[in-house]
Each structure stands twice: as C-alpha cells, then as structure tokens.
C-alpha cells in the first residue's frame, strides 16, 4: 500500500511517504499526517433514495 504525505511536518505535502523500520503507520494516518493512495471499492456517490413517498 502506498501513502502520500499530508502534513509538512513529515515532508513535502503530496510526496510519496516511504516508512522506515519501526514507523507506526496507523498513528500517522489517524493523526492526519499521511493518506493512503489506495482507492475505495465503494462508490463515493451517495446512493439514490428510491423510497419516495
């Protein structure tokens, strides 16, 4: 899985982040420092409400 930098505290925003040994990826994601580049399998569009009354 690839990650991009989302905070200047980590490096240049937008650059690929390559974690070194011992880096806690989950903590970086939770803190908003990096983002995963993997795409969600679900559509971002909200589903239509077909239950019209």
């Amino acid at each position: 899985m690839a990650y991009v930098i989302a905070s200047s505290r980590l490096g240049t925003v937008g650059d690929v982040f390559e974690p070194t040994d011992g880096i806690n990826i989950e903590a970086l994601i939770e803190g908003g420092f990096i983002k995963s580049t993997s795409k969600s399998t679900k559509s971002d569009k909200p589903s239509k409400d077909t239950n019209e009354e």
Partner: protein, 136 residues
C-alpha cells in the same frame, strides 16, 4: 576545549513527524543494564553488560491543533515507534550525529498538564528499542 551548545535548532522526530518546534528539552540516554559478576575471591564488585535499555525523554508544548503534539502522540501510547534526534538541523555528519531508537516504546502520555498562567507542557519518555547512530 570543544563543547556542544544547544541554542535553537536541535531536530527531534517522533514516528517520522518533526516536532522540533514544540520541544524545549530532549534527553537521550544510552543505557546498558549492569549484571553483577562478582565471585568468591574478589575484593571488589564487578559487572558485565546486560540488555540495552536506552531512553529518550522529551519536554514539549502540548497542542491539540491539527498535526501537532497530541495528533502525533495519541495513537502511539502503548505501541512501538521510532524516534530520532540530532544536535542541529544541519546535514548529518560526524559532528552532527543523528541518534535513533528503533521500535522504542511509549508507555504513557499526559493529556493535560494545566497550570494557571502557564503553557501546557508535557514530558514523555520512550523506552527501549535498538539504538543506532548515523554520521552521514
């Protein structure tokens, strides 16, 4: 006589996050536990080296703003991470070595240390991990 003077630009990174501008103190202590090896016939105690148990203690301002102190540390409590420190922000060299604790453990995190009329500061200590130093 040469000395090391820490004015304003030591670099402290915790879990790859540069928190230097929040730190006011950092103490890295390399420690190797002593195991007593004194035996009959000796007139003094003697020791040999045991397991390494180095520590990094950092004092920093507490901030709950985005990508600041709390955001960096909140998910590290009870986990292992990697921390780095070097004397200045200049390139790593023999006279500006970068010390690293890999897979060091953060046992506790003060959430609030509030005092009337004072900034919120916290002390955190990373314990254990493998110590290494880079000079280039």
């Amino acid at each position: 006589m040469s000395t090391s003077v820490y004015l304003s630009n030591p670099v402290v990174t915790i879990n790859s996050v540069d928190l230097s501008d929040q730190c006011t103190s950092a103490v890295l202590t390399r420690m190797i536990e002593s195991l007593e090896s004194t035996a009959f016939g000796q007139t003094n105690r003697s020791y040999v080296g045991g397991l390494e148990n180095s520590t990094l203690t950092v004092t920093m301002y507490n901030s709950f703003a985005a990508t600041e102190t709390y955001a960096t540390l909140k998910a590290l409590v009870g986990t292992q991470t990697t921390v780095k420190i070097k004397p200045t922000s200049a390139a790593t060299s023999a006279t500006n070595p970068e010390s690293t604790l890999t897979l060091t453990y953060l046992e506790s995190l003060p959430i609030v240390n509030g005092q009337l009329g004072a900034l919120d500061t916290i002390d955190i200590t990373f314990t254990g991990g493998a110590y290494s130093v880079a000079v280039a």
